[in-house]
Symmetry: C2
Subunit: 247 residues, 2 copies
Amino acid sequence: MTYCLGMLLESGLVLMADTRTNAGVDNFSTFRKLHVLADGPDRQIYAATAGSLSVSQTVIGTLREDQLASDSGEPKPCLGEAPTMFRVAQLVGEAVEHAGASVGAALDRAHIESHVDVLVGGRVGDGPLKLFEVYSVGNFIECTQDVPFLQIGETKYGRPILDRTLRYDTPLADAVKLGCLSFDATMKSNLGVAQPIDVLVIPADRALAPISHRIERHDPYFVELQERWQQGLRKTAASLPTPRWMK
Amino acid sequence: MTYCLGMLLESGLVLMADTRTNAGVDNFSTFRKLHVLADGPDRQIYAATAGSLSVSQTVIGTLREDQLASDSGEPKPCLGEAPTMFRVAQLVGEAVEHAGASVGAALDRAHIESHVDVLVGGRVGDGPLKLFEVYSVGNFIECTQDVPFLQIGETKYGRPILDRTLRYDTPLADAVKLGCLSFDATMKSNLGVAQPIDVLVIPADRALAPISHRIERHDPYFVELQERWQQGLRKTAASLPTPRWMK
């Protein structure tokens, strides 16, 4: 299992991804699922993947090696030349479709799960920060202000806290904190999601440098956050009244 | 969609179920999913169902009408004669298997979802309160003290609050309150779960009467609980520190 979260806010873009992979509970490992696709002066493009590890790595490898070829055999524009993030999302969608038609189809024939979802975020040239979710067949949606986050993988346990607290105008540092609480809820209920958690933050203000951080197991901040959140939730729940019809 | 929750505590048994059914978003309705299977001086047996409404109703109807017949054509012991809750769970499992082999198989042939899950709780004679989850093929598990609750239907959104707060020694009124918070989280994230919520409480103390209550839409207690919980969560989240590496 996997949990990846993308938040697109007025203040910037945040991508977070856990690193646990497993094929059954007796075969789990640590793989990075948050990838840098382009990091130059004119474009910063990042992707997080959930689903079949072999298909995900094929997608990322294909994009990095610009191996996409059109049906006619003509070379296609690669990520390094895409003029907009919309075009980037299309190229990622094509890479997903391509991997699905090759590796995915082989897995399907063996009745092995081949599903893959990708979060793609970043910016190109003078364009704004954008965030997309690319589905298994290559179609995609774009994150908008009304619900300023997208999730892939094990999405449900960690969603209520985001629905309740995250807004488009949430400051970046607070968004990272809320993202940590969302991962905490997910990890409490699903062993398939685990630290380290990779975090990437791209401030909307171009004068501020991107931040890349890995939250390791037993990270003091994360442990403190988990404990204080647990205590606060229990205290809040205890302070609420019970129904009158139960007395 | 549906959300049903059963809690088996030192202080008693709580069953809660929403009432929304839907076949697509343009066809939703209100149906009771919390059923009384037996309510006499020697046995109180209750069930909550999730999944295909027609299969669920077939299961409940079969159990109520004691229509189960053994393969040899001999009449089987009915719920009203089962000597233990374990035997009750077996009979419910057989009814589920029977409905699956008839109605379920017909639905499968038409490629329509036929899955059904059942929570069965209560007590027989001098026996203790018990709670079981019966799966689609008729097998079942029993709730134990380590994790004193079982869920069926849309289980994930409402699980973190229970994992964090519910214990075997939680008093009944508090458990109902925590159950309401679990339903609140689920309803916030899934339109397929909605009020009214049916609640059934059977105290372990036989001197206390069972409580049956329906929480209607706009119920003042539930609305107050939702608002104060939301405020408390936001306040707690706001009080937590942000990571130092984000400053």
